[in-house]
């Protein structure tokens, strides 16, 4: 009886493993990428999130894109010209580019796309950057000829190419067959190296290599450059649980995972898993609400900056991977220029002195933080460092939606907040400087800052911009309306079979040029 039972169990398990074999088998033609949630939307620029950006950057393209060096490079436009006062741009389209439905890209398509994005009914998330709400207004878009599109502004728009390249705000060019006769979006029909295949909500999203892709010559270069696809299919698998993602990678069922915690590095490397660490301008910060009575005195904000040892905090959290950086300008970029030196250095004694001068009497200051493990860790260390400099604080741990609500209303004192990567400092300064009454999310409501921002918005030469960015950084180091803690790297783990993956400063994944060896 006992022997029979054991035999039956063994047979059942052996049978199960045979049935399971196809499910476990690796497919050399498909790259399986785990994402923590479904894409918010496949409609470019509408309801977007970080996952949408990654998926859509393989399917659709803009006129220009950021390169590896974070300068703006040609993509669908092979070149562009601008008049002297930066009010009229002519973009000349590449020849031989076709949409996934086989139709060639023309200037009319670009005009149609921009008209669609400017139409309030489309609900393009960055429409404000083109319709005059933020910066100059795009007044006219016309096809000069079949391959030339002219953009006319009501005022000087020297940063128009940068705005076009900004990942979160790119007006991606889609084919007209992406929408139905009533204009309702169906699916993205782009010009990218992959075409949209299918999607099963809660499970996966498939992209299929586009055989007719017109690649640029040369190497991969940010979201520009040569985007020739190597692997036939990409499957973005929705795997919400972090431990399931890393187990799936180690079991060979997933090829790529991201947002890998530093504590997992050793176990992953022991399993011959490659870990790609790419510095990015994504920025973990301590927001200081200048309107809050406890923090309205700049000396109190400087005291807080002096109290925090950024180097120790970064090492404790990131296993040496995180780069401490108080400044908007991130190290390794053209605009950096030792920006950290302009900020208050770690000095608890100076913190105590400044706090006393500001009239601080030991009252507890609130630190708002989202209930995500890594954020709470940051907040806990910040709290301990403040305490060692004589500044009392309490943690207010809320869910992300609640924190975002308070961020939008400006109702907080201190907050741990991560900004997604802005690939040009102007974009970061624009999101930080402004009138808090009109826009409570702005951190720095101050005349000098506003004037410097206005000045740099009118510049296009990198050297000129660098000088003003340095001025802004120095002024920010005195006022401390926000304190950078560290730049967040993009950490990606890759199965041993994956070859050719390259990270870049933009932090978004690029799977063109990536291949797999058969297991």
């Amino acid at each position: 009886m006992g022997l029979n039972l054991r035999y039956s169990l063994a047979s059942a398990l052996a049978g199960l493993s045979v049935i399971a074999a196809p499910a476990l088998a690796a497919d050399a033609d498909t790259l399986r990428v785990a994402v923590h949630a479904d894409v918010a939307s496949l409609n470019p620029g509408i309801n977007r999130d970080a996952n949408s950006d990654v998926v859509l950057s393989h399917v659709v393209e803009g006129l220009v894109a950021f390169g590896d060096d974070l300068s703006v490079k040609p993509m669908l436009a092979e070149r562009w010209t601008v008049n002297d006062d930066s009010t009229v741009y002519d973009f000349h389209l590449r020849s031989g580019v076709a949409f996934h439905d086989g139709k060639p890209l023309t200037a009319d398509d670009v005009v149609w796309n921009f008209q669609r994005y400017l139409d309030p009914a489309t609900a393009f998330q960055c429409v404000g950057r083109y319709n005059g709400q933020i910066g100059p207004k795009l007044t006219k878009i016309e096809a000069v000829d079949a391959a030339t599109v002219r953009f006319t502004f009501d005022a000087s728009a020297p940063n128009f190419p940068t705005t076009l390249a900004t990942i979160q705000c790119t007006p991606w060019i889609i084919g007209k067959s992406s929408v139905d006769a009533q204009g309702a979006f169906i699916k993205p029909v782009g010009t990218g190296p992959y075409a949209f295949g299918s999607m099963q909500p809660g499970r996966y999203l498939d992209l299929v290599r586009y055989a007719g892709y017109a690649a640029l010559p040369g190497n991969r270069d940010g979201l520009a450059g040569n985007k020739t696809a190597s692997i036939e299919n990409i499957r973005f698998m929705t795997v919400p649980d972090a431990s399931t993602r890393s187990n799936g990678l180690q079991a060979g069922e997933i090829d790529v995972i991201d947002e890998v915690e530093p504590t997992l590095f050793d176990s992953l490397k022991a399993n011959k898993i490659t870990v790609n660490i790419q510095p990015t301008p994504a920025w973990m910060t301590l927001q200081l609400q200048t309107e809050a009575p406890a923090l309205s005195d700049p000396r109190m904000r400087q005291a807080i900056a002096h109290a925090i040892d950024l180097k120790q905090l970064s090492e404790a959290l990131g296993n040496g991977l995180y780069k401490p950086n108080p400044s908007v300008l991130s190290e390794g970029t053209y605009y950096y220029d030792n920006a950290a030196a302009a900020w208050p250095a770690y000095d608890p004694q100076a913190a105590r002195k400044l706090a006393a001068e500001a009239g601080y009497k030991g009252e507890a200051i609130s630190i708002l933080v989202a209930n995500r493990q890594n954020r709470v860790q940051v907040a806990t260390i910040v709290q301990a460092m403040l305490l060692s400099a004589g500044i009392n604080s309490r943690l207010d741990v809320r869910d992300w939606a609640t924190q975002l609500d308070q961020y939008r209303s400006g109702k907080y004192e201190l907050a741990i907040f991560a900004y997604s990567a802005r690939l040009d400092p102007l974009l970061s300064f624009q999101s930080l400087i402004g009138d808090k009454k009109a826009e409570p999310t702005r951190m720095w409501d101050e005349k000098t800052a506003a004037a410097l921002l206005e000045k740099v918005e009118a510049l296009s030469e990198p050297a000129d911009r660098k000088a003003v960015f340095s001025e802004l950084n120095a002024e920010m180091g005195k006022q401390v309306p926000i304190l950078g803690l560290y730049n967040i790297p993009s950490v990606t783990a890759l199965a041993p079979a994956v070859e050719g993956y390259l990270g870049w400063q933009g932090g978004t994944h690029r799977f063109w040029g990536v291949s797999k060896t058969a297991n």
């Binding site: 398990l13 199960l16 493993s17 049935i19 399971a20 196809p22 499910a23 476990l24 785990a34 949630a37 479904d38 918010a40 939307s41 309801n47 999130d49 309030p120 609900a123 998330q125 960055c126 429409v127 404000g128 709400q133 933020i134 979160q168 705000c169 099963q200 909500p201 809660g202 499970r203 698998m237 929705t238 795997v239 919400p240 649980d241 431990s243 399931t244 993602r245 187990n247 799936g248 180690q250 079991a251 069922e253 809320r398 869910d399 992300w400 939606a401 609640t402 975002l404 609500d405 308070q406 961020y407 939008r408 907040f417 900004y419 997604s420 999101s431 009109a438 826009e439 409570p440 999310t441």
Partner: protein, 314 residues
């Protein structure tokens, strides 16, 4: 019978109305804004206002409620704010997925735990009873997410018998669909085994202490006849009620198991919607869950007389 069912269904209407109002109001009292969550850190006040207008979030709560209720009467639960998908088909799709985990786990759990519970009661305070009760308590004490992760590590990562990530529909590939369900069903089965076993044991012990069982034994009936013919039906009544509650509870969403095993079920849909403050999905899911509870408990009540004829007689 018909009047009983009709009566119960009529009684369900005020419950559902109350649930609808409560859910609608409460979810809007919680801080957080679906439009703000969509825009994240890269937006401005005007962009936010435009998005809120697009989703009707700028209207007053009574106005939003009136729109939702008018759609509800047309059998339309609206569209998800986050994805734009229709809510009702999404809920039904996800519910059918949850059903594939919950029903096998409960059926298996019942088939194994009820006889074991009765056996433990029969051998009360003996070594086998203590062993079974200890195992049941242990299984009951282990959180499902932890058990699921341990099973994944053992059978998925180390032994490689079953896949760790993914889900397949039976209509796509029955073999793969089966394989993907093995561990989630096993996890749920092991957890519910403990609950059902303890209930079956307790109710059997109560029945075994009654006079009619003593009388049956005194008549010289064999023990298996006493247990199955006389004790089982009466002892199973309370367990049956518990099964109804468990089933309703699990069908409402086994979010933790669905998250660990990447199963696109109803629980995950609801949890994702709560984090995204996706009001139409939250409202739709909770209303649907309330309806499932009512239906499952109605079914339990209708089947109860089969185990305890005294109920039918009343």
């Amino acid at each position: 019978m018909f009047r009983f069912v009709l009566g119960r269904l009529t009684m369900a209407i005020p419950t559902l109305v109350l649930v609808a109002i409560t859910v609608f109001v409460l979810i809007r009292l919680i801080p957080g804004d679906p439009a703000a969550l969509m825009l994240g850190d890269a937006s401005d006040a005007q962009g936010l206002a435009a998005l809120r207008e697009r989703f009707g979030l700028d209207r007053s709560i009574p106005e939003q409620f009136a729109i939702w209720v008018s759609l509800l009467f047309q059998g339309d639960l609206g569209r998800s704010i986050a994805t734009g998908h229709e809510v009702l088909p999404s809920i039904i799709d996800r519910f059918l997925v949850s059903l594939r985990i919950v029903v096998p786990a409960i059926v298996l759990g019942t088939l194994v735990a009820v006889p074991l519970g009765m056996f433990a009661a029969w051998k009360q305070n003996g070594l086998r009873d203590v062993t079974l009760v200890s195992c049941a308590t242990l299984l009951l004490s282990i959180p499902t997410f932890w058990m699921g992760m341990l099973l994944l590590l053992l059978f998925g990562l180390h032994l490689r018998w079953v896949p760790i990530v993914g889900y397949a529909d039976f209509s796509e590939d029955p073999k793969r669909a089966f394989v993907y369900l093995v561990l989630p069903v096993l996890t749920l089965f092991l957890h519910e085994l403990g609950v059902i076993l303890r209930m079956a044991r307790a109710s059997t012990l109560e029945v075994l202490s009654l006079d009619y069982i003593t009388h049956a034994r005194a008549k010289g009936l064999p023990e298996h006849v006493v247990m199955w013919k006389h004790a089982f039906r009466n002892a199973f009544g309370p367990t049956w009620t518990l099964l109804g509650l468990i089933l309703g509870n699990l069908l409402a969403g086994v979010a933790v198991i669905e998250t660990v095993f990447t199963i696109p079920g109803l629980g995950r849909l609801l949890v994702d919607a709560i984090f995204a403050r996706d009001y139409p999905v939250i409202q739709g899911c909770l209303l649907f869950i309330a309806a499932i509870y009512i239906l499952v408990n109605l079914m339990v009540d209708l089947l109860y007389p089969f185990f305890d004829p005294r109920i039918a007689a009343r």
